[in-house]
């Protein structure tokens, strides 16, 4: 497990989903979680600094998750941030587009606590190697 104080930003336009992800992260031991309801708000919060991990939905108003991911990767002070996508978009071209844009992980909804835990650990492992 990575640092339990690691600061997460959960981005989803549905408050229910944000709450579920927040609860799952809490169960995994990560209690330092903030939320944003779309990519634009997320970007504002990320620019303010202090975040170490982004969990984002894809289909959101104002700025979607892929654009958020691309923007993060194109911003020098944010591009190192791990970005895990949790989305209902299940077309293969979605997954490829996300991977090419630099997503750290891709989870399709509906998902389980086990999947989230597994993907987080995989991302932390890779971060540790880098």
């Amino acid at each position: 497990m990575a640092d339990p104080k690691m600061r997460f930003l959960v981005v989803d336009d549905f408050s229910t989903m944000r709450r579920i992800v927040r609860n799952l992260l809490k169960e995994l031991g990560y209690t330092n979680v903030d939320e944003a309801e779309d990519g634009a708000i997320a970007l504002q919060k990320l620019q303010a600094g202090g975040f170490e991990f982004v969990v984002t939905d894809w289909n959101m108003p104002n700025m979607d998750g892929l654009t958020l991911l691309q923007t993060i990767r194109a911003t020098p002070n944010l591009k190192h941030l791990p970005v895990l996508m949790i989305t209902a978009e299940a077309k293969k071209e979605n997954i490829i587009a996300a991977a090419q844009a630099g997503a750290s992980g891709y989870i399709v909804k509906p998902f389980t606590a086990g999947t989230l835990s597994e993907k987080l650990n995989k991302i932390f492992e890779k971060m540790g190697q880098a």
Binding site: N23, A90, K91, K92, I95, Y106, K109
Partner: protein, 288 residues
């Protein structure tokens, strides 16, 4: 046809006026007066037709009207060769005819009913879906609130049991004095008699709350079934209308988008994944 009757009447009127006037004056008003009243009469007819169609169709007039116009254009082309084009009466005649055919075709194809149904059904479907969204959101909130309440209760039971257990381990290892042992016995009794039952009852109440929060399923299920039936009716009707007007070559074009939402029916599709393993396999195969 109104235009024919009108022009015959006008012809007679013109003839009667022409015979009263000098031959020089006659040709001037003739071309003007002859078509104009005819146009007036026809546009009254058209207006009435439009009003009757518009009253039935309102919002979705354009798409439904298109096939009938297309059909009519074919007729016009054939008819145009046979008819004498330069005659303006023929034009008004044809326009009147088109309007009539449009109206009749809409009726015959059932599009007028379809359109009427669409206009009344869509706002209804919208309300129904909003109702579903509302109920499911409420249910999600109730469940999350219940787990927020029940979680700490269960944690308390677990933590207290762990603490007491450790003290009992000490007691069995003869590490406790008589007074300490007495206190442990009393605390354990209190834990078993009061704390555990109170907290499990409270947890059970939250489980009941979670169960009751599922009552939306019955209500939303009924509503969704109705909306699905409506969508099927509309789809069948609109597909029929679309197939009438859409060129063959454009019928297979797919909407390519990266924001499609959940895959509702993955059967027979190769462009989507159905579970997390497939996501992982795909990413692995691409070297990510």
């Amino acid at each position: 046809m109104a235009a024919n009757n009108d022009s015959a009447d006008l012809e007679a009127l013109f003839d009667s006026i022409a015979s009263d006037f000098t031959p020089v004056a006659a040709p001037a008003p003739a071309p003007v007066t002859s078509p104009l009243p005819a146009a007036g009469a026809d546009s009254d007819d058209l207006q009435a037709l439009f009003d009757s169609i518009a009253a039935e169709t309102v919002a979705v007039q354009a798409p439904a009207a298109t096939p009938a116009v297309q059909v009519q254009e074919g007729g016009t082309m054939e008819g145009a060769a046979a008819d004498n084009w330069p005659k303006q009466e023929a034009v008004f005649n044809r326009i009147g005819h088109m309007a009539r055919t449009l109206h009749d075709t809409l009726g015959q194809l059932g599009y007028d009913k379809l359109v009427e149904q669409t206009v009344t059904a869509l706002p209804d479907a919208k309300d129904r879906l909003a109702y579903v969204a509302n109920l499911t959101e409420q249910a999600a909130c109730r469940v999350l609130n219940a787990t927020d309440i029940a979680g700490p209760l269960v944690d308390d039971i677990e933590n207290a049991a762990t603490a007491l257990g450790e003290r009992w381990d000490k007691a069995f290892a003869n590490q406790l004095g008589v007074a300490e042992f007495k206190q442990l016995a009393e605390e354990t009794r209190a834990y078993l008699k009061d704390q555990v039952p109170a907290k499990t009852r409270a947890t059970h109440a939250q489980l009941t709350e979670i169960m009751m929060a599922q009552d939306f399923q019955d209500l939303t299920g009924q509503v969704i079934k109705k909306v699905v039936a409506l969508a099927q009716d509309l789809e069948a009707g609109l597909m029929g209308a679309l197939l009438d007007v859409l060129p063959e070559t454009r019928r297979t074009e797919e909407v390519a988008s990266l924001m499609n939402g959940p895959v509702v029916n993955a059967e027979g599709r190769t462009d989507v994944v159905v579970n997390q393993e497939q996501v992982d396999d795909l990413l692995d195969s691409l070297g990510f």
